[in-house]
Subunit: 445 residues, 2 copies
């Protein structure tokens, strides 16, 4: 991940030339700029756009890529897996061995440490928190019996994580993100509080920054000494094979074995799914954890369900075959995603580079580009985009309680629109950034 901070000159095709950062412009210059930008904005509004860049949804083109999976079964197919399990019937709570192995290999974890679930790792995480609230963690006091439960929330982060903790009335503590992961000094400090029961992590190509936790951060994470014995690291490895480039890829240490080496293997719960590998709404998901944690999970799971969809598990196993199969498949995703990321970055570089009104990340994988506007501008930018027909992720969504202390972070999700649509949305976005920034700067003139 790199953050653009160099100054560049910009040539506008309309002939207006900005030779310096907006912050250095005088009032007159700003007013003239505002007028010009406003005209452009009104023109854009007139186009009646209806585009969505709000969520990390795969595009239809990406979903098409997995369609051969639909050819695997037919009415005469032998629906017994390698162990003779009839995947159509009840049973095998942990999932079929092939699926446990496939997802285990993807995470670098032994299959016996894997339970395969239904389509959504989000549900697995929700259920894990919910179970902790009602039943406690591996024999500890249920959180609903405690006065206060807190979670550490590295931010900007994944809005749906924060929604889970907020839903259960868990107090969220924002942990700032550095370029190599959460601020571990703060994390180490906060876990001394026995009310702190967990931390949300997207360790690789993190949502929305696109950065990957460094080995040093992972080491410190695996060596935490939380006061609460029921403290868990929620390690949502959602983008573990989601590289954009073949020559430049982040790597992530395997956290379960690192925790085990420290005698703390119960401290981490790993989540993953194929939502952004096979089908967003119909993949398979898993938890990877110590046998102690898995036993705890199964105690409730066996009451909640007889077994998850093993037909879909089997379909995935036969289609991908092994980790190499997944890796090959992910190259095809990258081929679709890369030009989209490139286009957005190119637009940001060209239009905003050097203006001093925003910084953005250049991720090597994942689904998002994270944009930071000048303080106090994000909400207005997203609002302006919406008025002109382009839906962005809500400003603030990447922070606990949807409160971005700087009103600065905007998550850009380039996966779903076509390149043509991205060109339009990208240009509208930079226009809104410019316009809102100018208005902001004028406030103090």
């Amino acid at each position: 991940m790199l953050t653009v901070s160099c100054y560049m000159y910009q040539k506008d095709e309309g002939g207006y030339e900005v030779m310096k950062p907006y912050g250095e412009l005088g009032k007159e210059e700003l007013l003239a700029l505002k007028e010009q930008l406003s005209l452009q904005y009104e023109e854009a509004k007139g186009k009646g756009l209806q585009l969505d860049m709000s969520r990390g949804k795969p595009s239809a083109e990406q979903l098409d890529m997995t369609m051969p999976m639909m050819d695997i079964f037919n009415r005469d197919f032998d629906m017994r897996d390698e162990q003779g399990v009839d995947v159509r019937n009840y049973g095998y709570l942990e999932g079929i061995i092939g699926a446990r192995r496939l997802l285990g290999d993807m995470l670098g974890v032994d299959p016996e440490h894997i339970i395969v679930f239904g389509t959504a790792s989000l549900s697995v995480m929700y259920d894990t928190v919910s179970r902790s609230v009602t039943h406690g963690v591996m024999g500890s006091t249920p959180w609903c019996k405690l006065d206060k439960v807190k979670f550490l929330c590295p931010a900007p982060g994944y809005d749906r994580h924060f929604a889970i903790t907020e839903h259960f009335g868990i107090e969220m503590i924002t942990i700032p993100m550095n370029a190599d992961g959460p601020d571990m000094d703060l994390v180490e400090e906060y876990v001394k509080d026995p009310a702190v029961k967990g931390i949300w992590c997207v360790p690789m190509y993190t949502n929305p920054l696109g950065i990957t936790y460094s080995e040093e951060v992972c080491k410190r994470m695996a060596d935490l000494n939380p006061a609460a014995e029921d403290f868990r690291i929620y390690w949502d490895n959602a983008y573990c094979v989601h590289h954009l480039y073949e020559d430049k890829q982040d790597t992530l240490p395997e956290i379960l074995s690192m925790c085990r080496a420290n005698g703390k293997e119960d401290m981490v719960l790993i989540f993953a799914s194929t939502s952004k590998i096979s089908f967003a709404g119909a993949g398979i998901s898993c938890i990877a954890a110590s046998l102690g944690n898995l036993d705890w999970v199964k105690k409730s799971m066996t009451i909640q369900i007889i077994s998850h969809d093993k037909i879909n598990q089997f379909r995935h196993v036969l289609y991908f075959k092994d980790l190499d199969g997944i890796k090959e498949h992910m190259k095809k995703h990258a081929a679709i995603m890369r030009p989209k990321f490139d286009l957005v970055l190119e637009t940001l570089d060209r239009e905003l580079g050097g203006l001093g009104i925003g910084t953005w990340t250049r991720p090597l994988g994942g689904y998002f580009i994270s944009f930071n506007s000048m303080d106090g501008c994000a909400k207005a930018i997203v609002e302006k985009c919406k008025e002109a027909g382009v839906t962005m992720t809500g400003a603030g969504a990447t922070y606990p309680y949807k409160k971005d202390p700087h009103d600065s972070n905007i998550r850009i999700a380039p996966s779903y629109p076509t390149l043509e649509e991205l060109k339009i949305t990208g240009e509208l976005f930079v226009l809104c950034v410019k316009l809102v920034s100018v208005e902001k700067l004028l406030e103090n003139k």
Copy 2:
């Protein structure tokens, strides 16, 4: 449903002839009988059987029947539903309209009152109880904040229902079952207690009795006046289209509209699935309820999942098409199930009829035959079966806390074994019933 209570004579092919009920035999006769039965039992044990009649699992033959569903999709299939929804992607929390309509028609409920979930209605019920514990019901106090929460449990009933309430520490009150449903006098009495928050019902071809609630029982159910505003009828209509015969079928009134007519439409939550229609482990499930209840469900659901597996929903819609399609399909299930029920009933009639050591139900649908032994014999019978290699549902499993006050009820699940296996298990079962009954009678001689 009929309960066999007539006396019949039995001729044993070994030559021994019982002319009267066991209860009228003298000690000498019983001892002689015991010796003969013990010999037969030892012989049976020597066969090294390994058979399972414990769960309501469809047979491989039944699962084969739905295999044409696997032909529906292929790599070139247009995966957009009638509303243009790409079923492969995220979104549409309530499920696709076709699936809402299909399951709605099956239940006699308008699609707008349906939310479609994943594979298991058990999970939907678990999550509903769990949500009530953590968040309360439509704004009421979360159950985890209450000293005492109670559920009414008509019994014998479905063990997995009781497992859910037990898991959440909810006190279970056993309600005796009559031939037409739960004892409504008792139900009406108990719901005056504000701690009583729900009742578990399998209203049609109930697990394990196979009876269907009468219109009178349904009327009284829909007209309950519970003290608790958050009291809900958990109406698990698992066997709503699961008839065994074409000419003899139970019917069930539609409870949501009955509650609505009484101004109590929020009082009932209906659950169903295709687990025993399409694939036991890979069907689709739903909740049917008032819009108020659905809004309450969605408040948590939208945090828990983005959307359930719409590909599988679409597959079901295209395969079954409509309620007629389901009904035609269920006739094929009946054709497989009927001979199994007949065989078990024939064995029970022939071997135990008139002996006064057991009664059993003759259901017109569903998955179970319910057997009642003499008091204090069920555990021993199941144990004896197990020793000889046949696994039955655990005695007591059909009662809250697995405590059958009479140690009498045994659930017979004839669906999974082949006819040949059923013949063997049936004969072993009646042998064990006889042997244990004789031993019981001898205790008092």
